[in-house]
Each structure stands twice: as structure tokens, then as C-alpha cells.
Symmetry: C2
Subunit: 127 residues, 2 copies
DNA sequence: TTACGTGCAAAATCTTTGCCCCTGA
DNA sequence: TCAGGGGCAAAGATTTTGCACGTAA
């Protein structure tokens, strides 16, 4: 376990304590509860650094901003077009990656599988 | 077949004539070869409209901008971290979507499956 | 000291939007 | 005529970066 700065650790803590796959802005607001004078730039810098080290993961669902995930275990995502929430789906892409490598000769390092639709709650509220 | 404006048709044409999954800026430059005074705003407006009608598809790979795809047939993507290019992978997500619906009760409308790694060319050039 | 990390603010993207004009049915 | 687009430029939103300062080893 590395020795992170207070700010970097706070970003990790916030990210690992939620399952909401938040944006940088949300993380910033949350961290400010502990470190009120942290800057948004620091949050972005740390998110980028932590992602490059594989400690956190970036999740792109096609809306206006990037989302981040403190859970780096193998799983996929569901994006609800209604409430815009991202939830975890226990789908393992390892086999597909291997198959693709074997078939094509590409070096496949990872995969992101994102299902899109309407969640149960939003479906209910439609009626 | 609808009757599109000259600009909108040009955006479609450019997008359908390439397999490069370009950004809005690239499409803009390309369309300008035909319609030199088209504006970037028009390109964005048309891309958004065409996507909402399901005529084109948006592809998010987590880099700085959105990419677009004129091929709406069922397929997945491979993103090369070296050359940043997106290529098609003939992987059908239909079954996974169905399975997910049955298991969870979510309304799954679509899915994006993006494999990330290094392509054959970039692997060669590394050595 | 010295490398690393931060706060702040400016800048750099990328995307959307308001306004007014034009055009085709 | 009139609704739907379009051009332009400004505004918005998100993200990155330069710089000077602080801090822990």
C-alpha cells in the first residue's frame, strides 16, 4: 500500500465508499466535506493518476462527463436513460477478451461492456 | 427514405463512407470539402438529431471526444491505445442483452461492447 | 534541500445554444 | 407564408495546465 497524500487518499476514499460511479465534480464536492479547500484541478490530477496506475477505473457512458469507479474487479455496467444512473452488472468479459485475442491477434487488455436501457424504477414511473 | 437537407445528407454521406469512427471535428472538415461554409454547430446539431433517430450511432471510448458510426448494424469495437483508432469487431450483443433482461427485469435496449488494447500494427512498431 | 503535490486561475477543448436569416414547399 | 434548417458567434461545460508556494522526508 502506497503512501498517498491526504488529497489523493480522500479521492480514493470517496470513490470506494460509493457505488454511484460519480463524475469528477461530484467527487470534488464530496471531498470538500473533509478538505474544504481542495481544488478541482487536484481532483482531476489525482483521478488521472490513479486511473493510469489501475487503482480506479474510468467509465464512459456517452453523457456529458466521465465517470469513475473505485471497484476495479471484473464487472460490467448498466446505464439507465431515465435516471442517468450507472449500476453494476456481474458480467465477466475475460473469456470474450481471450477469444478475441486468439481470433484476431490483437493484444486485448481490457473491455468495457455497457448495457443501456431503462431501469425498473424508471419503467414503473412511466405508467 | 426521408428527404434530408443538403447539410444533413452530407453528414450522413461522410459518416457512411468511412470506417474510422470519426469525431465531429473530422466530419466537419470532411463535409467542408463539399459544403465549404457549413458550420460546426450544424454538424453537431445534425449528429445529435441523427443519433436520436437511430440513423447513426455514438461511440464513446473514453478519449477526449465522442465518435460517430454510420454503421448501425450489430457490432462491437476495438480501441487501440497506441494509434487511438477504433475498429469494428463482429460481436453480437443481442443474446447478452436478452439474458440480462430475463435475469434482472431491466429494459435493455442496447449495449456497447468495447475492447481495449494494442493493435497488430502498433505492437509491431513497439519492437 | 528537493522532489512531489497542491491551490488557484487561466486556458484549452469540446459541445450547445440564441438569434436572425434564408429557403423550399 | 411559414416551418424547418442553417451560419455565426457567444456561451456553457468539462478538463487540463502553468506557476508559485508548501511540505514531508
Amino acid at each position: 500500500m502506497k503512501n498517498f497524500s491526504r488529497q489523493r487518499q480522500a479521492v480514493i476514499d470517496v470513490l470506494c465508499s460509493t457505488k454511484t460511479h460519480p463524475s469528477a465534480a461530484w467527487i470534488y464536492e464530496k471531498v470538500r466535506e473533509t478538505i474544504p479547500n481542495i481544488s478541482l484541478g487536484t481532483v482531476y490530477r489525482n483521478l488521472a493518476l490513479l486511473e493510469s496506475e489501475g487503482i480506479i477505473r474510468k467509465v464512459s457512458v456517452g453523457d456529458s462527463s466521465e465517470h469513475f469507479d473505485g471497484d476495479t474487479s471484473m464487472h460490467s455496467h448498466f446505464y439507465c436513460k431515465g435516471c442517468k444512473q450507472i449500476t453494476d452488472i456481474p458480467f465477466d468479459t475475460t473469456d470474450d477478451c481471450k477469444k478475441l485475442e486468439e481470433k484476431t491477434g490483437l493484444s486485448v487488455e481490457s473491455a468495457t461492456y455497457t448495457f443501456v436501457g431503462v431501469c425498473t424504477n424508471c419503467n414503473k414511473n412511466k405508467n
